[in-house]
């Protein structure tokens, strides 16, 4: 530091070498700084569970920019998994009228389309995930349940009687190493957990009504190990 201080100030870069004028460069630089600042604030929401008051105010003021460009990635976790109940596979299941709820094969399952490596398939899983995530909010989940029921009635000619969203819980490596045959089967019924369950009533004019079966408080909470850490291994 001392050595550099002893040096004479660096000469300015000649103006004619740049394609853009000084004014244009300054204006673009300012826009770049604003963009990266807002992007940083918006994306920090992916890092922390909630924004600080300052961040919230900044984002509220500049929502027209961050939301419009989808820099505000609230719906997309880039950590992939923290091994919580949110980070498992989700499925939406519809039971048609006259079918038996206790028979797994009688339920129509979403996703039911294509290869699981496609976005088309994964969109249904994501809807299930968001559904489970907001399951305590009865009004919102009811509107989703109604939409699913209406879609099945109008687009698949299925009269829906019940809809549910289930989590497919994960096996721990210990279970695969030394569990019972049932525990080693990843599709065993014990690995499924209901996040939302409702009866659907279809009126004569085709309107679908929703009667929720399980209250949010009755839905199984994430299992915890003895040291309080979240654990999805146990079904």
């Amino acid at each position: 530091m001392r050595k550099s201080l002893d040096k004479p100030p660096a000469p300015a870069v000649p103006e004619e070498v740049w394609e853009y004028s000084s004014l244009k460069r300054t204006a673009i630089s300012l826009l770049l700084i604003i963009h990266f600042f807002l992007a940083f604030v918006a994306m920090s929401g992916n890092l922390a569970p909630a924004y600080s008051q300052l961040e919230s105010r900044i984002l509220a003021r500049f929502a027209f920019y961050t939301q419009l460009l989808n820099i505000d990635l609230n719906f997309t976790p880039f950590y992939w998994t923290h091994a919580t109940v949110e980070d498992v596979d989700h499925r939406i299941e519809v039971l048609a009228q006259g079918q038996r709820a206790e028979v797994d094969g009688d339920w129509l399952v979403l996703p039911d389309v294509g290869w699981r490596g496609t976005d088309r398939y994964q969109r249904y899983q994501r809807l299930g995930r968001v559904w489970a995530l907001i399951s305590p909010q009865d009004e919102l989940t009811a509107s989703l349940a109604q939409a699913v029921g209406t879609s099945f009635r109008a687009q698949r000619n299925v009269i829906p009687a019940r809809v549910r969203c289930r989590r497919h819980m994960l096996q721990s490596w210990e279970v695969i190493r030394g569990g019972t045959p049932g525990e080693r089967n990843p599709n065993d019924s014990s690995y499924y957990q209901v996040a939302y369950d409702a009866n659907l009533v279809v009126s004569r004019n085709g309107t679908v009504s929703v009667v929720k079966l399980a209250a949010a408080s009755e839905i199984a909470q994430p299992a915890r190990t003895t040291d309080g850490k979240r654990n999805t291994a146990s079904p």
């Binding site: 550099s4 201080l5 100030p9 300015a12 870069v13 394609e19 853009y20 460069r25 630089s29 770049l32 992007a39 940083f40 994306m43 992916n46 890092l47 929502a63 027209f64 939301q67 419009l68 460009l69 989808n70 820099i71 719906f75 997309t76 976790p77 880039f78 950590y79 992939w80 998994t81 923290h82 091994a83 596979d89 389309v113 294509g114 699981r116 496609t118 976005d119 088309r120 398939y121 969109r123 249904y124 994501r126 809807l127 907001i134 909010q137 009004e139 919102l140 509107s143 939409a147 699913v148 879609s151 109008a154 687009q155 497919h168 994960l170 096996q171 490596w173 695969i176 990843p186 599709n187």
Partner: protein
């Protein structure tokens, strides 16, 4: 005392001059447009896949009796009074698809959207098509934010960056049309001029925007992963392998070799951190670009995120220089330099002078 103030003043002067020169060199040195032209094709094809992937379920999702009625989405995103946050608040997740209330309108908008994105990929009216493609992709993202995945989140970012550069300068229908027009006017066509587009500052800004966003994305991934205990514990990859309805290959036999799973987990975080920080280093860059497929391809098999993994590999191409793509890299020159870093090798006088002047300033 006076001497101290003088030194502080000199320091601040040097700091601002050096920073300003570096900033100018980084953002405003003209660069060859080949890289962003290649990315136009690849990102354009990715965008085309994205829009086309909605075709089979277009009415199922967005139709009048679809799974995501407009009103439900508005409430979930807080656009209406009954939103999750209570009071109504301004939400700017605009989408023209909200206006498509009939199936006919919806299909019309979908087909037009695909044509626009196709024009962008082919390089027809590139500048306009880039902006319109961004609007098309964002409209699908904003219409259904509940079903947005990592691919859908990164794609608009890449399109946004490509909006700022001359992406139709090379390998495009625009370039062919320009050549034909010149030939039609019976003007002498300079073969070299049509083959080697001139460097431009806009191309550099576009490429630099891509580079900064991609590097930041890697750092974001690493930082969010390290916020969770399973990534520190080396177990995260297991919990991804164990997702029986997502995985493309069943690697659960690795339960017998948890040390490998631990190494895989730590390796991913390490690579993401290294990419975000060291990609700017001239010597580390080729190595990181070569190693990237080793991260993303197995990742795709485990998580099922094939499109996202391929998109990240496409995005990595923003760190390959135009010279390298054109195959005119002089012997001994680094083939993956960023824009403006090896300008002495060829003959763009303005950029060469800019780079040299900036380097002189920094080196003083």
């Amino acid at each position: 005392m006076a001497n101290g103030i003088q030194r502080v003043r000199e320091y601040l002067q040097q700091l601002t001059t050096a920073f300003g020169s570096s900033w100018n060199r980084f953002w405003f040195t003209p660069a060859d447009p080949e890289t962003i032209c290649l990315l136009r094709i690849l990102v354009g094809l990715a965008a085309l896949y994205f829009v086309a992937s909605h075709t089979a379920d277009l009415v199922v999702w967005f139709g009048p009796d679809g799974l995501l009625p407009a009103e439900t989405v508005r409430r979930l995103t807080g656009m209406s009074a009954a939103g999750p946050l209570g009071a109504p608040q301004p939400v700017f997740r605009w989408s023209y698809l909200y206006l498509m209330e009939s199936e006919t309108l919806l299909w019309s908008a979908h087909v037009i959207g695909m044509i626009i994105v196709g024009c962008f990929a082919a390089g027809l009216f590139s500048r306009l098509a880039a902006v319109l493609s961004l609007i098309v992709v964002l409209s699908y993202v904003h219409r259904a934010p509940l079903i947005v995945g990592p691919f859908d989140a990164v794609l608009p970012l890449l399109l946004f960056c490509l909006c700022w550069g001359p992406t139709g300068a090379r390998w495009s229908l625009d370039q062919r049309l320009r050549t034909r027009r010149r030939a039609g006017r019976e003007q002498p066509v300079d073969a070299a001029a049509t083959m080697v587009p001139s460097a431009s500052t806009a191309a550099n800004i576009s490429q630099r925007l891509l580079q900064v966003h991609v590097a930041a994305l890697y750092l974001l991934m690493a930082a969010t992963q390290l916020a969770g205990q399973v990534w520190w514990a080396g177990e995260a990859m297991w919990w991804l392998i164990a997702r029986a309805e997502s995985r493309l290959v069943d690697l659960s036999f690795l339960s017998q070799h948890m040390v490998l799973v631990n190494a895989w987990t730590h390796g991913i975080v390490l690579f993401e951190l290294a990419f975000g920080l060291l990609i700017w280093h001239r010597l580390a860059r080729p190595l990181l670009l070569v190693l990237a497929p080793l991260l993303w391809l197995p990742w795709a098999l485990v998580t099922g995120h094939v499109s996202f993994s391929l998109l990240m590999l496409i995005a990595n191409a923003c760190f390959v220089s135009g010279e390298a793509l054109r195959g005119t890299v002089p012997r001994h020159a680094d083939s993956t330099l960023g824009p403006g870093e090896n300008r002495r090798a060829d003959g763009h006088s303005r950029e060469r002078r800019a780079a040299t002047a900036a380097e002189t300033t920094i080196g003083s």
